[in-house]
């Protein structure tokens, strides 16, 4: 193995991955914003933990169980990626796979570049680690143990993911899928103990995640007897190294799957359009059912229908539905196992879910997908002389409808099942759509108009989410009041009207600004 080749390849991959950061000041600023926003959250999270530890709250088993489940989820994520086989970028296939670089050299460079990307994206966690070590005044030995065991665990994950991906690429077939799925089930199974009263817990199982969790928790509490846990984790690491060594010499290059994205910072339209085309293929059978009626009397209705059809064909609608099915399942499963009444828990969970996840992600996904699929044909409305207000309204109304209809259906069904009043969750769902969609579209159009089209979507999305959160704050406050003060029907309706009026105001305001910005886009 040639070390200088591995090093060259590693540097090349990292430069390629983070290239946009070097090129755009906006990207660097947004990455800093990302770190800061996470740090604020982690700081508020670390303070109570530190306080609890200082006050002598020593529920080591519970902490270990929780941490172990989180680490197991990370493992599940890594292992599930192997189901796609070994994925590479287009330039790697054409350039590196036809060069004298050996499979093992490529794999090692790949693992280290993945580690680098992981550390850069997970920088708030590294800072969080420093905060914990500093605030608890942990000994150097404990701090080193925490760090080294975490690194060992990450390497185990990367080696396992790499090896399983290669096995999947080289041998394919149902047997490999079954093996990967079996590993996932084994890793997830003890988590069932959280939602149902089952005699399953990570603490009693010799999982790598359990060993890591024990080391981290015991290090914080300065508990001895870490040798066995460290040996356990090292055993898994060695096992993954052996697996990697045994398979990394095989010529897996012709069996790899090409993925269109070079990095999350990649803004290549050709690559992103390729991904969109794949989705369209996947959903084409259902997506081809609705068709555009050219005889439509209203241009607004026609354009709205066009957007809805696009969203169905590109797969966004199915992602939203899938998202809600999972969420509903969690709500139902939680309510079944909970000791609380069945009436109050789903309600609270639903609201938390909407506020925490839905309100920020669905409009972002819809707007991002619009950018990738329609930017190439944006010249049509922009040069057609049509009233751009109609186009913007069509976009907004279709996005708001799509992001409201699915949760409204889910809320209605759950309300019937649990006999709860759906007014407040419905109001929240509609309000988040009415605010989230225009805000996301405004930021996206703004970036395109400012010739910052090189700014990665992931960072544009972050800016959109932060502004959405800011503008949704009055909604959140009113909903919180509505939930905790248990208003009567009349007051609840008044609250709903107030929230919707506020949301309409924001929507109108941003819609006007989008109309101004969209004409500034240079294609």
């Amino acid at each position: 193995m040639r070390i200088h080749v591995v090093l060259d390849l590693y540097i090349f991959k990292v430069k390629t991955f983070f290239g946009a950061l070097r090129a755009s000041k906006a990207s660097i600023a947004l990455l800093l914003l990302y770190t800061l926003s996470f740090l604020l959250g982690l700081f508020s999270f670390s303070t109570p933990i530190s306080d609890a530890i200082r006050k002598g709250v020593t529920d080591i088993d519970s902490y270990t169980e929780l941490l172990s489940s989180v680490a197991s989820l990370l493992m599940v994520f890594a292992v599930s990626l192997a189901l796609r086989g070994y994925t590479v970028f287009e330039y790697e296939q054409n350039l590196i796979f036809t060069s004298p670089i050996k499979p093992r050299e490529f794999l090692i460079a790949d693992i280290f570049s993945n580690l680098t990307s992981l550390l850069i994206f997970a920088n708030p966690i590294v800072i969080f680690y420093v905060m914990i070590v500093h605030s608890l005044k942990l000994s150097t030995l404990s701090a080193l143990l925490m760090l080294s065991s975490s690194i060992l665990f990450i390497f185990t994950l990367l080696l396992l993911k790499t090896s399983l991906s290669m096995i999947k690429s080289l041998y394919g077939g149902n047997q490999v899928n079954t093996l990967i799925l079996a590993i996932i089930v084994i890793l997830v199974l003890p988590a069932a103990g959280f939602i149902a009263d089952l005699p399953l817990e990570y603490n009693s199982l010799p999982y790598p995640s359990t060993f890591l969790a024990r080391i981290l928790v015991k290090s914080v509490y300065s508990v001895d007897r870490l040798t066995l846990d460290f040996a356990g984790l090292s055993f898994y690491f060695l096992l993954s190294v052996l697996l990697f060594l045994s398979i990394s010499t095989k010529n897996f290059f012709p069996t790899t799957t090409c993925i269109p994205f070079v990095s999350p910072f990649d803004t290549s339209m050709r690559m992103q359009t390729l991904q969109m085309e794949r989705n369209i293929k996947m959903f084409s059978r259902i997506g081809m059912l609705p068709t555009l009626n050219l005889g439509s009397k209203s241009l607004l209705t026609f354009l709205m229908k066009k957007e809805v059809i696009r969203v169905i064909r590109e797969g966004s609608l199915f992602t939203i539905i899938f998202f809600y099915l999972i969420a509903s399942f969690i709500v139902v499963a939680t309510s079944i196992s909970s000791s609380q009444t069945t009436q109050s828990l789903p309600y609270t969970y639903l609201v938390t879910f909407f506020v925490g996840v839905y309100s920020l992600t669905i409009p972002l996904m819809l707007v991002s997908n619009w950018r990738f699929s329609d930017i190439g044909s944006l010249w049509i409305p922009l040069t057609s002389g049509m009233d751009l207000r109609i186009m913007v309204n069509a976009l907004l109304y279709s996005f708001i409808s799509i992001s409201s209809v699915v949760p409204a259906a889910v809320i209605s069904i759950l309300s019937l099942i649990y006999s709860i009043n759906p007014i407040i969750p419905l109001t929240l769902a509609v309000s988040t759509s009415m605010i989230g969609c225009p805000v996301n579209l405004y930021i996206m159009v703004g970036f395109l108009g400012m010739k910052s089209s090189g700014t990665p979507s992931i960072l544009i999305g972050l800016a959109s989410m932060l502004l959405s959160v800011l503008l949704l704050t009055p909604t959140y406050i009113l909903i919180f009041l509505g939930l905790h003060l248990s208003f009567g029907d009349v007051t609840s309706w008044l609250l709903t009207v107030t929230i919707l009026a506020y949301s309409t105001l924001i929507m109108k305001l941003f819609s006007r600004e989008i109309k101004r910005s969209i004409s500034r886009i240079e294609l």
Binding site: D8, T16, A23, Y91, L95, I101, F253, V262, S268
Partner: protein, 243 residues
Amino acid sequence: MKAVEVVNLVKVYGGGIPAIDNLTFAVEPGEIYGLIGPNGAGKTTTLRIVATLIKPTSGSVRVLGFDVVDQAEYIRRMISYLPEEAGVYGNLTGYEYLRFIADIYAKSGDESESMIEEALEISGLGSRIKDRVKSYSRGMRRRLQVARTLMVKPKLAILDEPTSGLDVYHAHYIRRCIRRYVDEYGLTVLISSHNMLEIEYLCDRILLIHRGRSIDDGPPRILKEKYSSNNMEEVFLKAVGLT
């Protein structure tokens, strides 16, 4: 020993439609061998199999005596591949890109420097080599790619539409470069192109492919005589029975 030897090659993709259907041809060392055919004829698939990027469904492909499936590692030491849609990541400079390639192929620092110098000459990018590739025109990107393919002086250069996107002046210049490398360094070139003029100018022999099958092959002059045609475009149309 043949530079490339393809025998009864078949490649069937997922949908069951054969992209290549029983293709046989051979390329002599030091020869420029052209594949011509319409879109979807199987040219790119053939080149990618020779470049060890995809495996054949059946048949045998040997490059300089080595099998593309079992001995891919040896083949990769001797080839250089230029795909039709060769992405160069936009945020690297042209120089960074060439430096990376040179470091992979070169056995010493001096050799690496010499490769980069040659690439600079071939690409004609001058001081723009220090700029990010994103700022290059399509033609500049293509010249950079051709330069990186030739600078390593492979035994076999596999070129898929090498002058795609280039203007007449630069296309002519690149063709001269390819010819010069073949004459001076004894390279073998396997090339595919839609440009019949290019094929006629460059290639010692040509293979006509249609729907994954070989229609005919031979030197351009002989083929023109055989089909009583003035140019390769007519040869192709007559060979596939379109006129």
